[in-house]
C-alpha cells in the first residue's frame, strides 16, 4: 500500500517535470494523451467494468466541447459559465441517452448508443445555423483560471495533468467502492445480482451518467487544447478510437485506458509523421495485442513481467 502510493507520487512528479525538458510539440502531445486517457477511462467504466459496450461515447466529448464553443462564440460567455453549463448539459443528455440505451443490453445496447450518437453527429454536420456544419467552430480561447495563462503550452499541460489526476482518482475510487463491486457483479452475473437485491438497471444507468460526465470533462479539455471543433470529433470513428484505446490497453483495468491512449495518440500524431499508412501500422499492432495479449496491454505486460522476472503480476 505504502509502496504503491510512493510509486504514484513518483510518477506524478516525473510527469510534472517533463515539460521542462521537451519542446512545445511534445508537451502538447502529452496534453493530448491525457485528454484521450480521461475520455477512454470514462468509456472504460461502461465497457470494462459494466460490460456495456458503447459505440457512441464521442457524443459526450463532442457535446460538451460544442456547448462550450457555442456559448462562447454566440453569446461571448466567459469560461467560468461555459464550463459548468457544458458539463451539466452533457451529463443531462447522458442521463437521457442512458435511459434510452439501457432499455436493451448487449448488441442492441451498442446499436442504440450508435444510433443516438449518429443523431448528434448529424446535427453537428447538417444543422449549419446551430453548429456551423462542416466548417466547425473556431476562434475560441482557453480559460485563465486564477489568472494563470493556459495559452502557454506548459501551463496547459500542468492544468491537464491536474484534471487528469482528479478524474482518474475519482474513477479509481468508484471502481473500488461497494458500488464498483456491484457494477462488476452486474457485468458477470446480472440475473444473480437482481436476485441478491441489486437494482441492476439503476446501477448501469448511474454508471452511464458518470461515464458521460467524465467524457464531458475530456471534451472541455479537448476544446481548450484545440480551440476549434469539427463534427468529425463526434463521428463513429472517434467513438471507435476510444473503444480501441480501452480494449488495446485493457478493459476493466485502471491502467488500461491510459496505456491505450498513449499508444493511439502517439501513433496518430507522431508516427503518422514518418509512416504514411499509420492506420495499417495501428491495425498490425492491434492484431498483435489481440493475439498475444488478449486481455490488453496492461494485463499483458504484467504477465510478461511475471514470466520474466517472477514475483506477483
Amino acid at each position: 500500500m505504502m509502496k504503491q502510493s510512493l510509486i504514484y507520487v513518483g510518477l506524478i512528479l516525473v510527469l510534472m517535470i517533463l515539460p521542462i525538458f521537451f519542446g512545445e510539440y511534445y508537451v502538447n502531445l502529452g496534453s493530448q494523451i491525457m485528454i484521450a486517457a480521461i475520455f477512454a477511462a470514462s468509456l472504460n467504466l461502461l465497457v470494462g467494468y459494466g460490460g456495456l459496450t458503447s459505440l457512441g461515447h464521442a457524443t459526450y466529448l463532442g457535446l460538451s466541447a460544442y456547448a462550450s464553443a457555442w456559448l462562447f462564440s454566440r453569446y461571448g460567455m466567459s469560461h467560468a459559465y461555459t464550463a459548468p453549463i457544458a458539463l451539466i448539459f452533457t451529463t443531462f443528455v447522458g442521463a437521457i441517452f442512458g435511459w434510452i440505451s439501457l432499455r436493451a443490453s448487449g448488441l442492441s445496447f451498442l446499436m442504440l448508443t450508435l444510433a443516438l450518437s449518429q443523431i448528434i453527429w448529424g446535427i453537428g454536420y447538417r444543422w449549419v445555423d446551430l453548429t456551423n456544419g462542416d466548417n466547425g467552430i473556431s476562434g475560441l480561447t482557453r480559460p485563465t483560471p486564477f489568472g494563470i495563462n493556459l495559452e502557454n503550452s506548459n501551463n496547459f499541460y500542468w492544468f491537464c495533468l491536474l484534471i487528469t489526476i482528479l478524474c482518474l482518482f475519482f474513477i479509481a475510487r468508484v471502481v473500488n467502492s461497494p458500488f464498483g463491486a456491484s457494477l462488476k457483479g452486474t457485468r458477470d452475473q446480472d440475473k444473480r445480482m437482481s436476485a441478491l437485491g441489486y437494482n441492476v438497471w439503476k446501477i448501469r444507468w448511474i454508471t452511464f451518467v458518470l461515464a458521460s460526465f467524465f467524457g464531458a470533462v475530456s471534451g472541455l479539455l479537448y476544446i481548450y487544447l484545440n480551440k476549434y471543433i469539427h463534427p468529425s470529433v463526434i463521428s463513429i470513428t472517434s467513438s471507435a478510437e476510444a473503444l480501441l484505446c480501452v480494449i488495446a490497453g485493457g478493459a476493466g483495468t485502471l491502467a488500461g485506458p491510459i496505456l491505450g491512449s498513449i499508444l493511439i495518440v502517439l501513433l496518430k500524431n507522431y508516427v503518422s509523421g514518418f509512416v504514411e499508412r499509420w492506420n495499417m501500422l495501428l491495425g498490425i499492432i492491434f492484431l498483435f495485442i489481440v493475439i498475444f495479449m488478449p486481455a490488453g496491454m496492461g494485463p499483458g505486460f504484467s504477465q510478461i513481467k511475471k514470466r520474466w522476472f517472477g514475483g506477483k503480476p
Binding site: P178, A181, S182, Q189
Partner: protein, 246 residues
C-alpha cells in the same frame, strides 16, 4: 401469522404450451416443503415466477402476506427471500469471500456508497468468512470460485443464499451433479438451517428429499397432481403413477 409464501391460481404459457396451470401453493413460516415432478413439469418455471424472473399471465404470489406480483426481482429479495440456482450462478473470477460479500451488500445500505473503497479487511469480509465457515469453506475463502470443485461451488451457492439471512429460501436442485459424499454433506447443511427459515426445495434425490420434506407438492405438465403431508403424498396412487413408479 401470515404465510411465508402463498401462490394462488398461477398461470403461465409460452405460446400454446401451458407451463403453469392454476398452480396454488401455501408454505407456512419455517415449513420444509418439497416440490417434485418429472423433467419439464414446470418446477423451475414456478420458482422463476415466485422470484420475479418470469411474469405469470395471471394469479398471485404473496410473500409474508404481501402481494409481490408487480414487484421486480430485486425488490423481492429485500422481503426476506433468497434462492439458489439449479445451474451454478456464481461470480467465477472472484474469490469465495467476495461472492458472499456481494450477497451481503445486496441488502445493505453500503451498496450505494460510490466513494469509499471496499477493502479485503472490511467487516463485510469478516462476516462473509463466517458464512463460508458455516458451509465448511473457511479455508478456501480467498481462492477463486473457478479453482474449487463443483461440490464446493454448490456449497458457495447455499452460503450466498444464507448470507442474506432469509426467512424464505428457495433451493433449486441443491444436490444436482454431486457425488455421494458431497450429497451427504450438502444435505446435512440444509437440514441444519434454522427452523425459522421456510424452505421450498426442488430435488430429484428422493432419499434425501423425502427425509427433508414435511409437505410435498407434485407437479406434472404444469399442473398440481398432489399436494399434502409427506406420507399422504408418498402413498397417493397418483404420485406413484407420475413419479415414484418409474
Amino acid at each position: 401469522m401470515s404465510l411465508a409464501l402463498h401462490v394462488k391460481d398461477l398461470k403461465k404459457s409460452f405460446g400454446g404450451i401451458a407451463v403453469t396451470q392454476n398452480v396454488s401453493l401455501e408454505v407456512a413460516p419455517g415449513e420444509r416443503r418439497l416440490i417434485i415432478g418429472p423433467n419439464g413439469a414446470g418446477k423451475t418455471t414456478l420458482f422463476a415466477q415466485i422470484t420475479g424472473d418470469l411474469k405469470p399471465d395471471s394469479g398471485s404470489v404473496s410473500i409474508f402476506g404481501k402481494e409481490v406480483i408487480q414487484l421486480p426481482v430485486h425488490a423481492r429479495a429485500h422481503m426476506g427471500m433468497s434462492r439458489t440456482y439449479q445451474i451454478i450462478t456464481l461470480f467465477k473470477k472472484d474469490t469465495l469471500a467476495h461472492n458472499v460479500v456481494l450477497s451481503l451488500l445486496g441488502i445493505h445500505q453500503r451498496k450505494r456508497n460510490l466513494f469509499n473503497p471496499l477493502l479485503s479487511n472490511d467487516v463485510l469480509y469478516d462476516q462473509a468468512i463466517e458464512f463460508l465457515d458455516s458451509v465448511g469453506l473457511k479455508n478456501q475463502a480467498f481462492r477463486n470460485v473457478s479453482e474449487i470443485s463443483y461440490g464446493e461451488q454448490r456449497r458457495v451457492e447455499i452460503a450466498l443464499a444464507l448470507a442474506q439471512n432469509p426467512k424464505l429460501l428457495l433451493l433449486d436442485e441443491p444436490l444436482a451433479g454431486l457425488s455421494q459424499d458431497e450429497r451427504v454433506m450438502v444435505s446435512d447443511l440444509i437440514n441444519n438451517i434454522s427452523r425459522e427459515v421456510a424452505i421450498v426445495m426442488i430435488e430429484h434425490d428422493m432419499e434425501m428429499a423425502l427425509a427433508f420434506a414435511e409437505k410435498i407438492l407434485v407437479l406434472q405438465y404444469g399442473k398440481v397432481i398432489v399436494d399434502g403431508d409427506r406420507d399422504s403424498v408418498v402413498n397417493d396412487p397418483k404420485t406413484q403413477e407420475v413419479y415414484l413408479g418409474h
